[in-house]
Amino acid sequence: MRTALLSLLVLCACAPKVPATQPLVVDRAAGIPASLPTRPFVAPETRRATLSNGLTVVVAENHEVPLASVRLAFRAGGHADPVGKEGLAGVTLDMMNEGAGSYDAMTLSAALKRLGSDLGTNASDDGASVWASSLTRNLDATLDLMVTVLREPTFPEAEWDLLEKQRVADLDRRRKDPEWLAVRVFDRVIFGDAYRGRAATKASYAAMSTADMKAWWAENLTPDRAILFAAGDVTLETLVPKLEARLAAWKAPERTAEAAGQAAKPVSLATPALPAGPAPIHVVDRPGAAQSMIRVGGYVTSPTDPSWFPLVLANQVVGGQFTSRLNMNLRESKGWTYGARSGVSLDLAGGRFVASAGVHTEFTGPAVAETLAEIEGPRAGRPLAAGEVEDGRSAIVQAWPLRFESADYLLTQEESVWRYGLPADWTNGYLGRLNAATLDAAAGAWKERVDPSRLVVVVVGDLAQIRPALQALGRPLIEHDADGNVVPAPAAP
């Protein structure tokens, strides 16, 4: 190491000294220096085509490195799992990678590895996808494998036996993960036994067969529920013939007019109302925990509601960035946490606001109180100020070009438009809509929609230590087990 260091220093000494430029005269006392001229930025656009089987193809080019990716997204996911077979969509997609055509799990894995390619098959609550990425030079062979997995999965019994054991073990693993527990209980409180409130269990896995998976695959992974996104070192002109050659024969099943109409439309679920309030605090016991996980939130808007952009703007000030009120208070002033944040995000049920933090066990009670106070602030006592709202707006607007450094962001936005039924100009119109949101609109939307007394509050931590401080907040405590079920309360104190 010593030798390496010496040689390095020698190199430094050999490097040319100061270039022939006039040093600028700087004045540190004057603070932040003036900006350079702004460079214009035009966001890249996608290009589209339709295959002969009706499948839409969306391409975002980026030729910086010789890599390409292709992803089929489906309007089908865990949200429609049959009662008693929760987890079916996820397992069906997982199993597609365990055998297809003449490949078994090992030969498929080996073939991909030789190409340096990845192939993934996954489902979430909101959707499913089959994707592949590869070196440009191996794209043809990779597409062949992807289409085999898409169209000819074999769902081998022996692979399900193995996967089921792994999935059951995963359930045990998650029960030990504080963040997962907070999310689980939060979703369960909001949705009960619907949508995100449901989760796979040992029993639901035991109730599934490979025949169920095959049926789910046949019904749902069809071109009329799909769209294809491609990114990277490809062009529409070269990709479409490759896809046409491999997918032209892929057709939707016969459907009734009503079923066909539904397949072609985004799924939309009812938006859960906030609790009438005053909301209790939902707790999960984790004896010995060094920190408590706090999660506060609820469904407060939807992306097509006029309140969406005003709420995005207000959230930026409350908890949407490092310098937000929430983080500056809980982290930089109090030192109770490594970070506290909040966000507004969308899913099939609408738009939700969630604030979260992991806090030192000792300060759990005050941290919950301060989190609720920061949410309450703009509604009463600490109104949003013009300066902080403009800084928050500027943070989003000026960061915009960076989002387009890779093709991923553009395609993620396009997928949201397709999956959630957003306006077609969602991406191009984003900054315009954000800039149209005024201070008054942000303050008004926050006051009307984000009432902390009605938000769901979840705390995962060492109850023996945090219970008294939580009780002192004056809300009832409801204890849940690791599956989100309510634990009967002990006799009243």
Partner: protein, 476 residues
């Protein structure tokens, strides 16, 4: 800030870098046969105060990254002050004399991405700003390089001690197996070795840090002659050079820091450590060997060995442990590359109904088999392709490229080390790979078990006599 310590543990070589294969080479390193010729154009020079400057244009979006490396990591901490290099990194975000505000405040409102990380060997700071805001980023970065201390207060120090201790709670104390890294480093590197305690440090040491420690550390390590600055992205070189000369030129140089001289260590016997963790759902086992430093002969070879052993369902370890015997839920292998000495590591999660000792025995059988047969050229060709892909993936962002330019400069003296880095994998022959495999993965290794509760007594006839067994609970 939002990150740090664990970055230390990411293998450099496994996360190679990018750039157009056909870029005009500045100083093109000799490539091994078949290696893609990857090169990043750049220019470099050194200011009179010793600050090394590297400029690399990339006009793909109107953003520019400022990336500063200080050659100081947790290995440079004083006894009783573990975790200090990382705590210091946090203090660098608390304002400086001429910008005495949270470092994020003036940057976030212009859309900047800001962060810093500390590992065993170095500390880095970086911000991506809209091209027009390059003066702002250079002013702020230079001000904390030269004028951090006048703005520092005991209150800031106390606050960031709390934040850092919460970082430790969140990422190490409160998660299943979170103490695995601590056990690994503590048992592989002896007391007094700079790697004995990983970057995050001990709670009591973080708590003990004083303003005097901060001042001393700053004066010793945070001098321009111990730093290098990369500006990468959308900028005009002429303007950038003027700005850099203006803002960084008056940062005073300091005495040349002298990094500690450390001779490589070795385990003189096999070592078995059995720990418990009440948060762990299953037993997990690690086998770890001391291995060659990053970029040293054997480093890339061990990356290739890791791919050959456990990449894909058909790989020997995955096939035997997870599919055939079904005694493990997963298995992974990595060469964790560091500047002084690296760690080659195999870890697996034990399947319900089985034991860590069974899993270790099965891993040993696979290793014996692979050593006997040898990794083949075909397996190496497959693994090289994986590294080629990973390399492209890791160079596709401007920030990743900027950080890599600094890393290559720091570790090899040549910022444009992209092609040479990837070429190592193409130069590794089966003979070299197999010799490294047999040489490094010898009997003297650390075997770590972390079980949900007290482990069963070790099997009656253990392999070679283990060193003292250590127990530790899930809480500090």
């Amino acid at each position: 800030m939002i990150l740090s310590a664990l970055v230390a543990l990411l293998p450099y070589a496994a996360a190679l870098t990018p750039v157009k294969p056909d870029g005009p080479p500045a100083t093109a390193p000799a490539a091994a046969a078949g290696a893609p010729a990857i090169s990043v154009p750049y220019e470099q020079y050194t200011l009179p105060n010793g600050l090394h400057v590297i400029l690399a244009e990339d006009h793909s979006v109107p953003f520019v990254w400022v990336n500063v490396w200080y050659w100081v990591g947790s290995r440079d901490e004083k006894p009783g002050r573990t975790g200090f290099a990382h705590l210091f990194e946090h203090l660098m975000f608390q304002g400086s004399e001429h910008a005495n505000d949270d470092f994020f405040a003036p940057l976030q409102k212009v859309g900047a991405q800001v962060n810093g990380t500390t590992n065993l060997d170095r500390t880095n700071y970086f911000e991506g700003v809209p091209s027009a805001e390059l003066p702002r980023a250079l002013f702020l970065e230079s001000d904390r390089m030269g004028w951090l201390l006048p703005a520092l207060t005991d209150e800031k120090l106390k606050n960031q001690k709390d934040v850092v201790r919460n970082e430790r709670r969140q990422r190490y104390d409160n998660v299943p197996y979170g103490h695995a890294w601590l056990h690994l480093y503590e048992n592989l590197f002896p007391e007094g070795h700079p790697y004995h305690v990983p970057t995050i440090g001990k709670h009591e040491d973080i708590e003990a840090a004083s303003l005097t420690d901060v001042k001393e550390f700053f004066a010793t390590w945070y001098v321009p002659n111990n730093a290098s600055l990369v500006v990468s992205g959308d900028f005009d070189p002429k303007v950038a050079k003027e700005l850099i000369a203006g803002w960084f030129g008056d940062v005073p140089a300091g005495p040349e820091p002298t990094p500690r001289v450390v001779t490589p260590v070795a385990l003189d016997a096999p070592k078995v450590v059995r720990a418990t963790d009440s948060k762990a759902p299953f037993e997990k086992v690690w086998l770890a060997w001391l291995s060659p430093a990053v970029y040293a002969p054997g480093d890339a070879e061990l990356d290739l060995v890791s791919s050959a052993l456990a990449d894909g369902k058909d790989s020997p370890l995955y096939r035997v442990l997870v599919r055939e015997k079904q005694i493990a839920q997963d298995v992974s292998v990595a060469q964790v590359s560091n500047d002084l000495q690296s760690i080659f590591m195999i870890n697996a999660t034990v399947a319900p109904g089985h034991t860590g000792d069974e899993v270790v025995a099965a891993i040993d059988a696979v290793l014996a088999d692979v050593k006997a047969k040898g990794v083949t050229e075909e397996e190496l060709a497959t693994a090289r392709t994986q590294y080629e892909v990973a390399f492209y993936g890791s160079i596709s962002s401007i920030q990743a490229k900027a950080d890599r330019l600094n890393a290559y400069f720091r570790k090899t003296g040549e910022p444009n080390g992209f092609g040479a880095d990837l070429a190592r994998y193409y130069a590794a022959t089966p003979e070299r790979v197999n010799a490294t495999l047999r040489d490094v993965l010898g009997p003297n290794r650390l075997q770590l078990h972390i079980a949900p509760e007290a482990p069963p007594p070790p099997p009656p006839a253990p392999p070679p006599a283990p060193a003292p067994t250590k127990k530790s609970g899930g809480k500090k």
